[in-house]
Structure formats: structure tokens, C-alpha cells
Symmetry: C2
Subunit: 696 residues, 2 copies
């Protein structure tokens, strides 16, 4: 019996040794299953997966299951290139028998049973689940089990009993700031299914665009979208597509703020005078709906009434975040209303608005989801708070009997490494001390992909693979937390996601080619070396340092747009330095590898220069390229100093650290990721002979 | 004025220096235009291409032109990531004005005018063409001109006058042996448009599959296709798709041989007794239509009558190749018929069949294309011979007043390097001595993609980029022949083709990941190093060495299926060795590079071993991996021997050459490409001090 705790330990053990042929099945599983199942019991031997592989359905049947099996077989065929028959067979002849006990709900609900049991033996496999949702989850686990073996494709013998820790495991995609075509949304839903996420939160309106066809109020999409919107039929098809994958679709129409695009066609909804245009800049804007206008509520009543006929989920997201109140302050009618009704401030005015809109949502048979701001005294209990503020806010809500989901810590656009997201748990902090009943109210979390600097070309790379780490957090047991195991599994899952059509890896080379133009291999390699070692500036620094003329129409073809948000090369380099320091700087092989890397870096700028002269997109990173070469020189100097086996002089240390400080400063909105690790080497050189075995 | 001869010279010059910032516009053009235009006159300065870029249409208009411009703008937006408006503008405001004088033919004909003039200046560009076809060609040239520059995206000032050398520039795809989905066909048509090819020859029936829906004879596709066929609507849509791109679609139904799949549903057409099954093996088979049966001609009459309502092109390909005659020999009824009608042998019987079928094709308003075999005395003159035999056969036909196209030398499945295809010209050999009038009958050529070892996953990589070299041969002037210039341009075009969605590069990494399974980066890199240096065995060796149990259903997931058919790394290594030898082995920098490569090779097998133990697909290439390491050792020994500056002993030479002979032998159907270049080094070492400056 391999418990999760055991899997964690294995995760640590295998870092560096990876899949050795001598590894046990359980050890190998520890590297491939993401999320980690609740219980894994490994057996002996394995199930051969060849062209004769087949699936039978038993128990409850429905067309969705047939489609799921066909999709499963197509994916298995892609992974293996085996010519599999997609036709179902009888249970007695099937390699994999799928037993589903019952249907799941017609409209998928929060907290439905998603459990399954998967037994794989040398002679066959059986997947058993109480509901269709459990079957969908189990099929994905089976796909992760199949891989090359010494004798062909195979799945190891194993018994897995599994269910999720949280019932709400979501991904929000903002397709309002930049429009995202449906084909891109669909492949991201495929990715969500693969890692067992179950909520697609679709952010559909913003200052920069209103992305939904409204039959009742066509000026909304006709004037507010630049003709980039989803038709009602397309949205219905997408919801069906998501349901096939066990994914709920929660639409978000952000109000009363974040709503300029509504006002282009309907200025009468706004608190200001108008006219309004589609916003091209980024930031928080003044435009807000008029909470004192009965016309606004009549409009929203009809609008919501139309939308709930498309979006069948029980929940309807009304946003509610970031209203700066300036239009309210400037509008005498609104000020008069507030005085008349004893509304003391803008927060109270927003609470009044939220309460009115919530009643409309309830009238149409739905429940509200809103950002932290909607939680004000008196709000009905059938509401879900989506917290961008953190666990404390979530715990506070839970104590007041409100349900909530965590998004603080899961903002994909901030450019954090996967490990940092992975360390965030909805039950940490203030939530840890809640009563069991209160804890039940914390439903899970959502990764959020805000789209200021995201478009259809690089979206996949901003979401994947990091979102899989968040999915692991939300499905697996709380004690599954080892980042080394997570990264090993993330690498595996990331490669698998490519078979679903996600472009999170392939886009990168292509964007670098655009940046380089026609280039000899050595110059292109120099660009790649640099690009592999930088990351975009973090948090909101990119917006804060953007040129004044930047808009939503600014081309996203720069190096900062092309590189992944987390540099694998930078991370691996940091691990190498730690390894060297842990050996008290005595490991000659590691030193040689570091020296080789530093030498490549030092010489890289000269190789890149011709390209920087030809391409404006390379020229932009010329200073960063010089920094990388300087970092290589500094690294070599540090290694030389360490080799002297006596503490380097203070003056040398100060000089070198001053250089590193310069290299740490972002240029062209890029961070040179290996700089802090080189700093460690300099400090080690200064600390004493053979670097005095410092703690890495 | 830069003539083609000049471009050639430039092509040679730039090899190794590539796009220097000091290069002239003309020099840069020499690297990016493929095919090479008939005339290029370079100007000064360049046209900036930014978000304001726009296109206006003037002169003749039709919806196809609107779609072409929208497609052009979408492609330009993909190449640059500029947010371009797809709406047409007025001529006075447009960056690019497109003047089309006349419509082209409703059904595209052989030899229609495809000429155009493209003038690009600092303030705007103008494309002028007599017909829509010329406009389509000119738009593709413009796309090749746009690239990054020091100040943004730009197209150089230039005047191009252009027209094709041959009117028939085709690509045949066999989607019968392995079915190829339409989306894959479509992206290959996009690729054809980019390099100005104008005939898609669609090989639709084979022993292994009948891929077309027949309303009249549904058993053809129902029983002969494994449910993998194109519906009539799909084919009509594809033909429209091709017409939009200025591409004719010529269907091929191969008969009387290559036709087993017809007989599964219609055994009455065959010369043997049947019953027949879809053929799963590769090769030439006995099954053939019965040329003596009037039922066969009645059937074909109705069948062709149905097909010409879908396939609108003037030409209809009836195959006609490779009939072994065994079923005819064994059928007494056929033998009696031959005696009765004075038909002396099987060749004459096939001529009788061809003549009857040609009459049917003519009756339905079409003209026949057939392989060499259909050219027998008395065949009508309105026929096109597709020669798999060579220029002599083509010249022979031309002398007899038949038109022809060349495919000998253009078989993509044989795995030849691009340079070898590029060296083949329809006007070489016997064709060179034809009279001008006879030469007119040689219409061009077709690249042929036979599909024994091709499926939707690796098809693109088998076609591209090598087909672009053949397209260059068929469009550009005959004297444009320099392989170095061709390879430089091919690299550029290959990268550009990726923006069209072709997967010829991206598939490779994914297939290697499948082969490796989860692997640490160093092991995967070792697999990649090996895979980059091998090619599949050439010509028909793969079929000849296939295991007895191999069929059309055998999974194509081996290294031999994954690697490109031409190894860039192998070619570059060969160039490096030549460079070293040309320096009389005195160039220390080149020697250092060679030594570094040999060292990597020598150590590569040890890195790959763990993977070979875990994956059966890597295990298959374990011997080749050992060979690569041995080659590295041999290379280092050769360099050491050269460094001694005296001739190496004969015994050493013999021993080393014996090793190389072993390493040249294919294993796992793979060739180790750098072996012959290492052999050159060994011979140089033996030839004398400092390698005595041998001719490379």
C-alpha cells in the first residue's frame, strides 16, 4: 500500500535519479500521476497495451459515456500510435471494463460524487465508479498510467481508489481583454479534463470587450466587441463540450465596474455622461453602472433572463470587483439618491447594487458567485465568494456561513513559478483553524488567467503546465506538498498535454523564429540560450512599467511575450548551484558543469550581436544579453575564487555583489533568472576555504 | 538588375556568412524567395509593415480575390503578430494595391497566365497581374518579402517580374495506402500555395483502400475503406479550397491494377475468382480488373460519369502502372478472349483496356493522365503521360506528340536529400535535345508522396520542406541550380510553412517523446542527438527489409518513422569536414568543432543506455547508438592521426576503414549519416602530413 505520504518521499528520492529500470512500479507511478490519487496500491507485472486494446461499458450507459470512451481511445492512440479500434466490445473480451453505476446530474452540481476505483492487472483492467463523473476521472488516470516499457506499451498493475479533496477545482479564462477563439478554449478544456478540473469560469465582459451575443440587446456585442464575440449557438456548444468532460461552465459578467464595453452601445446604463468607447488601455477605470437607476435593473433582469437560458449551471458570476467610485462621486443624481436612502458611502452603494442584482439572479433560478467585494452584511447565504484577497477573507466568510473558493495565490498572470502556486492551500492560514463544519464551506479554488498580456498565440503557455500544479493541490490530499515530486510529475504531464493539441510548448520556438527572422543556427541558438534563462517581470510590474502608448492592440511579439512564465533552465541551474554548495564546493563534476554553462553565457552575447543588429525584436533584449554574458563572467570569477580555497577579499565580494545587483534589475521587462544563484556562489567564495559548506 | 545567375552567385557567397546587416537588399532577397522569381530588380530603402498595413483591390474583382486578400492578411498577421484589420480599403489609402486585369478560367486550365509584377517602394507596394492566378502568386511573393528589420517589420524595395517556367507544378498525395484526413490535406494545399504549386494530384484508390464515396456503387467505399473515405461533399469542398489557392485537383483511380479494394465489394470486376479482402501488405499484387468483361466497362462508364461531376478538372488520372498479369494468365476466359482478338501479350491487353477506358473518359468530357505504361501505339494525343521512368521516356513521348510531366526523380518516399531532387530537371537528359516545339509538350513535374510509411502524423515531414526545392525547380529558370542557395532558402521557407499550420517540424519532438517516455533531460537529449544524425534507409530498402508480419496496420511509432527523411545535422557535419579538408587540415577552429562533436558522439551511447533499458522503441536503436559512439571514437582517432603530420600506417587505415564499413550498414532500418564524412578524415590522415590538402 503506497500512501500519499509515501509517494511524497519517493518523489524526493527520485529527483536526480529519475525513472531507473530498477524502480518499482510504485516509484514510477509517483512520477506520472497528476493529481496524486487518494490511495495507490501497486501490484506486480503490468498490462500490455497493444493494437488489440479494447473497452467495454457496463452498468449505466448514456451517449456521453460512449463519447468519453471514443475520446479516451483516440487519445490512447495518439499517445501510442497504436491503430486502435474505436468500436465498443463485449465485457468478456475487453481489456478495460468500465462499470458505471448511475447517471450523474443532468446539470452538473457542486459536490457530486467523482470517485472511482481503478484496478489494473496483467490480464485486464476494471474501472468502477458510482457516477459518470467518476468514470471520466478514472479514464484520465488510466491514460496517465500507459507508457513505453521494455516490451511495448503497458500500464503497471495497480489498484487506485480515488476521489477529490475539493468539489470546486476551476480555471478562469478572461476572454474579454483579449478575445480567445473557441478552438483555443476547447483545447484548454481538454487540458482541464486531463488533470481532473471541473469548473470553467468564463470571464466574458470587461472594459475592453463584451464577448457574448445578446439577442435582446444586440448593441452590446455589436458595438462592444470589435466583432469578436461568441454566438449563442457557439456558447451552447461549448457548454455541451464541457459537460462531456465533466466540467461546469460558470459565466461571469463583471458589474457594476469593469463594464465600459457595455456602455458603448448602452450609455444609459452608466453613471457618467458618456459617450463611451471600447477601452484600449489597461487598468481600473471610472466607468460604472448606475446603481440608482431602475432602468439598469430592468435591463439586467432581461439580460440575465436571456443568459440563464444559455448558461445552465446553478451559478452565475456577477464580478463585483474594483469599483473606484469616481463616476458615482461626480453624479449629482446618484449623490442625491444616496442621501435620500441613507446610503453612507460608495461601498454601501455597491452593496445595494449587489443585493439588487443578486435578487435578479435568484429570481431566474440561479445563485451568485462574486469576488470578495460582494460579501457585505445581509447578503443571502446561497452565494459563493471567490476570494482574490486570501484565506483570511475566505475563513471570515466561512464563519459567517458563506461558501467560498480561493483564487488568491492562483493568479496565473502574475508569472509565479509552479512551486509558489503549489504551496498555496485553501486550508492554510486562517482557514486551518475553522471548525469542520466551517471547513466544508471552502469548496476549493480557481486558477485565474487574466488576459492583459495573453492572446490566442501564447495563452496555452501562460496556463500550462502550471495549472496542473494547482489542480494537484485541489484534488490530492493536503499532505501531498513536495515541490520536487510536483515538478517531476509536471514535466510528464506537460508532455502529455501536447497530445491534446495544446500549444504551450510548440508556440515558443515559432515565436522566437519570428523574433529572429532568417538566422544561421548559431545565432538562433544564442537567442534561445538567452530566452531560456529569462522570465517576464512578476506581479503587476509589466503593467506598471509599460510605455504610455501601450494598448490592447499593441502587438505581442516581443521576447517577453514569447518566453514561458517559468524558466526551466533557470530552475535547473539553481538546483545545480545548490548541489555544488551542498558538496562544500568539492564536487568536481558539478563544478565542471557550472563552468561550462558560465562559459557559454559569457560567449553568448557576441553570438547574438549580429541578430540584434538585424531585428528590432532582438535589439530590445541586447542589454539583457550583455547582462547574461556579465553573469557568466561573474560566475567564472566566483568559481576561480572558490578554487583558491581561502576567503575572497571583502573588496572583491563587494564589487561582485554590486555587479549582480545591476544584473538583477529588469530590462525590457525581463528578469535574468540565474542571477540569485550566482550571488550564492560569490557569497560562498567570500565565506571561506572550499566555500565552508554553507547551507544552500 | 539582379539576374538569376547573379542570385546564384550570391547564394554561394552567403553560405556561412548568412544575413549580415551590411548585406544589400538583393543579397537578402536571395535567401528568402522560393521559388526564385524570373527577374528581381532591387531598389533602396524598404516598406514599413506595421498595424496600419492595408490592401486595396482594383480592376477585376471576384469573391475569390476577397478571400485571397483576407487569407493573405491573416497570414501576414501570423508572421508578424501585428493586429491587422481584415477590411479592404480604398486604393488611395492602401499600403498594397492589387490590380487584377481579368478573371482566370472558371475551371482552371493548364498553361493559364500566372505572371505578375510586384513593385515595392518605401511608400507603398503595387501588385499587377493579368489574371487572378497571377495575383495569387504575387501575394505569396510579398509574404516572403516581409520580415523583421532593425526598425520593425519591413519589405525591401524591389521590382519583381515573374512567371513560371512550367505550367504543371504538382504534388501527388497517396491517401489510399494510409488514409489522410482532410484537415491534413488542406494544410498541405496551403503549403503548395505558399511555394506556387498548382496541381494537387489525389491518389484515391489502391489495393489497401478505396477512399471515395460512390453514390452509384456504395459497396466500393463501404467495403473497401475501413470506413475511412471522403464524402462527395467533402471532396467538392476540397476542390473549392484548392481553386481558391489557384490549385487544380486531378483525381487518380488506379486501374486495372492496384485495385484490390474495389473488388471487396465488387468481385465481378476482377480477373480472379475472389473473394477479395482489403490488402494489408505492401507490394505489387496479382489482382487486376478484367479487360475482357463488358460489365467492367459499363461499371467504369457509370463510375467515371459520377466522379467527373465532382472532379471538375479537365484531366482524369487512370493510373495504369504495375500490372503483373498473373490473374490474366490464370483466367481461361481472358486467354480465350486474347486469342480471339489477336491480343498477343499482357502489355497489349493492358493497351486494349487503357484505350477502352480512355474512350470513356473522353466521352465524359475529360482527358486522361496515366503513368508511362499507358503510352502504347495508337493512344489518342490529348493525353498526359506522367513519367516515373525518366526524362528519356518523357522525351520519347514528346517526339510522338504526347504531352508529359516528370515524376521520376521526385518520389518523396525514397528519402532522397532535397539537393538530389533539386538536381533533377524535366529538361535534362534526352529532353535537352528536343526541338522547341517538342519541349513545349513537357508540361512540368509532380512530387509524389507514396504512403506505405506515411500517416497523418508524419506526412507533413515527408513532404516538407523538400517539396519546396522541387517547386523551385519547376517555377524558376533552368539555370537556377545552386544547391547551397537552395538549402539556405529552404530553411527559411520551412520555418515560414509552420505558420500555415504544417506540422513538419513540431511532430518530431512529440514522436521522440513518445519513444522515450518520461525521461530526464540528459537522456532525452542523447536520443535527440542520435535521432538527428540518422536517416531511414533509402529507395525501397525499407519495404525490402520489413519483417514478414508488417502490414498497413503496423504502428508507425519507431525512430525510423519519427526522424526527418533528411538529416540537417548530418549535412552540416559533412560541410564542416569538407571545410576542414579544404584548409589542408590546418583550420584549428574547425578541428576544435569536429573534436567537440566526436566527443559528444563517443559519450552519447552511455547516456542513452538507461532509456534503451526502459523503452522498447529506444532499445530498437541501441545498436545504432553504439555505432554512433564508435564513429565518434573513429573520428577522434582520425583527428589525432592527422595531428601527427605524417601519413598514418596502412594497417591503421585498413582497420579504421573496416570499422567505418561496419558503421555504414543500416540497423533498425537507419543509416548513420556522418559515416562517409568520417571516412574522408581517415583517408586524409593516411594520405600524408597535414592531410596534404586533398580535394574535399
Amino acid at each position: 500500500m503506497v500512501t500519499n505520504a509515501r509517494l511524497q518521499v519517493i518523489g524526493i528520492l527520485v529527483l536526480g535519479v529519475f525513472l531507473l529500470p530498477t524502480m518499482t512500479t510504485a516509484q514510477q507511478l509517483a512520477l506520472t500521476l497528476m493529481p496524486v490519487p487518494a490511495s495507490v496500491q501497486s501490484g506486480t507485472g503490468s498490462l500490455r497495451v497493444d493494437s488489440s486494446f479494447s473497452v467495454a461499458l457496463s452498468g449505466h450507459t448514456e451517449p456521453r459515456l460512449d463519447r468519453a470512451v471514443a475520446r479516451f481511445l483516440r487519445q490512447l492512440a495518439r499517445q501510442t500510435a497504436l491503430p486502435l479500434s474505436l468500436k465498443p466490445v463485449k465485457a468478456a473480451k475487453a481489456t478495460l471494463v468500465v462499470q458505471t453505476d448511475h447517471a450523474s446530474k443532468e446539470i452538473q452540481e457542486v459536490g457530486e460524487d467523482e470517485s472511482y476505483v481503478l484496478e489494473v492487472g496483467a490480464n485486464g483492467a476494471k474501472l468502477t465508479a458510482p457516477t459518470v463523473l467518476g468514470t471520466l476521472r478514472g479514464l484520465q488516470t488510466f491514460l496517465q498510467l500507459v507508457d513505453v516499457s521494455p516490451d511495448g506499451f503497458a500500464a503497471p498493475s495497480v489498484t487506485i481508489q480515488d476521489k477529490p479533496r475539493f468539489p470546486w477545482r476551476g480555471l478562469m479564462i478572461d476572454s474579454a481583454r483579449h478575445f480567445i477563439p473557441l478552438e483555443v478554449i476547447r483545447r484548454n478544456l481538454d487540458g482541464m479534463e486531463a488533470i481532473k478540473m471541473n469548473v470553467f469560469h468564463w470571464h466574458l465582459s470587461e472594459n475592453q470587450g463584451f464577448r457574448v451575443e445578446s439577442k435582446k440587446f444586440p448593441k452590446l456585442h455589436e458595438m462592444g466587441s470589435d466583432d469578436l464575440y461568441y454566438t449563442q449557438d457557439e456558447m451552447r456548444e461549448l457548454i455541451a463540450y464541457a459537460r462531456d468532460r465533466g466540467i461546469r461552465v460558470v459565466p461571469e459578467f463583471d458589474m457594476p465596474g469593469h463594464s465600459t464595453a457595455w456602455f458603448v452601445g448602452h450609455p444609459e446604463l452608466a453613471s457618467g455622461k458618456g459617450p463611451y468607447e471600447i477601452e484600449r488601455k489597461w487598468g481600473i477605470f471610472d466607468a460604472a453602472m448606475d446603481p440608482t437607476s431602475e432602468k439598469v435593473y430592468k435591463f439586467l433582469d432581461e439580460f440575465i433572463g436571456g443568459m440563464v437560458r444559455i448558461f445552465t449551471d446553478h451559478f452565475f458570476h456577477i464580478g463585483g470587483d474594483e469599483v473606484n467610485g469616481k463616476e458615482w462621486d461626480a453624479n449629482p443624481k446618484i449623490q442625491t439618491f444616496m442621501k435620500t436612502h441613507g446610503i453612507k458611502n460608495n461601498q454601501a452603494l455597491q452593496a445595494y447594487f449587489s443585493e439588487r442584482v443578486q435578487r435578479l439572479v435568484v429570481k431566474h433560478g440561479k445563485a451568485v458567485v462574486g469576488w470578495d467585494e460582494v460579501l457585505v452584511p445581509g447578503v443571502p447565504k446561497d452565494i459563493v465568494i471567490q476570494s482574490w484577497r486570501g484565506q483570511a477573507s475566505l475563513a471570515q466568510a466561512a464563519k459567517q456561513s458563506y461558501r467560498g473558493i480561493l483564487s488568491n495565490g492562483y493568479y496565473l498572470d502574475l508569472g509565479w513559478p509552479a512551486a509558489r502556486h503549489y504551496a498555496v492551500d485553501p486550508m492554510d492560514g486562517a482557514a486551518a483553524s475553522l471548525s469542520p463544519e466551517e471547513k466544508q464551506r471552502i469548496l476549493g479554488g480557481e486558477a485565474c488567467m487574466w488576459a492583459e498580456y495573453v492572446n490566442p498565440e501564447n495563452l496555452d503557455s501562460r496556463i500550462w503546465p502550471r495549472t496542473a500544479a494547482i489542480a494537484d493541490r485541489l484534488w490530492s490530499l493536503q499532505e501531498v506538498r513536495d515541490p520536487a515530486s510536483m515538478y517531476a510529475r509536471l514535466d510528464f504531464v506537460s508532455a502529455r498535454l501536447e497530445w491534446l493539441g495544446l500549444a504551450h510548448r510548440t508556440y515558443y520556438h515559432r515565436m522566437l523564429q519570428r523574433i529572429a527572422g532568417p538566422a544561421p543556427p548559431a545565432e538562433f541558438a544564442a537567442l534561445r540560450t538567452l530566452a531560456d534563462l529569462v522570465e517576464p517581470v512578476k506581479d503587476y510590474t509589466r503593467s506598471q512599467t509599460a510605455p504610455a502608448e501601450a494598448t490592447s492592440l499593441t502587438p505581442m511579439n516581443r521576447v517577453v511575450d514569447a518566453i514561458p512564465l517559468e524558466s526551466d533552465a533557470g530552475r535547473h541551474f539553481g538546483e545545480l548551484v545548490n548541489q555544488f554548495l551542498a558538496s562544500a564546493c568539492r564536487d568536481a563534476a558539478t563544478e565542471a558543469r557550472l563552468r561550462a554553462q558560465f562559459t557559454v553565457w559569457r560567449e553568448n552575447d557576441a553570438k547574438l550581436q549580429p541578430l540584434a543588429q538585424r531585428s528590432f525584436l532582438v535589439k530590445e533584449v541586447a542589454a539583457t544579453s550583455q547582462d547574461l554574458s556579465a553573469l557568466g563572467t561573474a560566475g567564472l570569477a566566483a568559481l576561480d575564487a572558490i578554487a583558491k580555497a581561502q576567503p575572497a577579499p571583502d573588496a572583491w565580494k563587494a564589487q561582485q555583489l554590486a555587479i549582480i545587483e545591476q544584473l538583477k534589475k529588469p530590462k525590457a521587462q525581463l528578469l535574468l533568472m540565474p542571477a540569485p544563484a550566482v550571488q550564492k556562489l560569490i557569497e560562498a567564495a567570500a565565506s571561506g576555504g572550499a566555500c565552508a559548506a554553507p547551507k544552500p
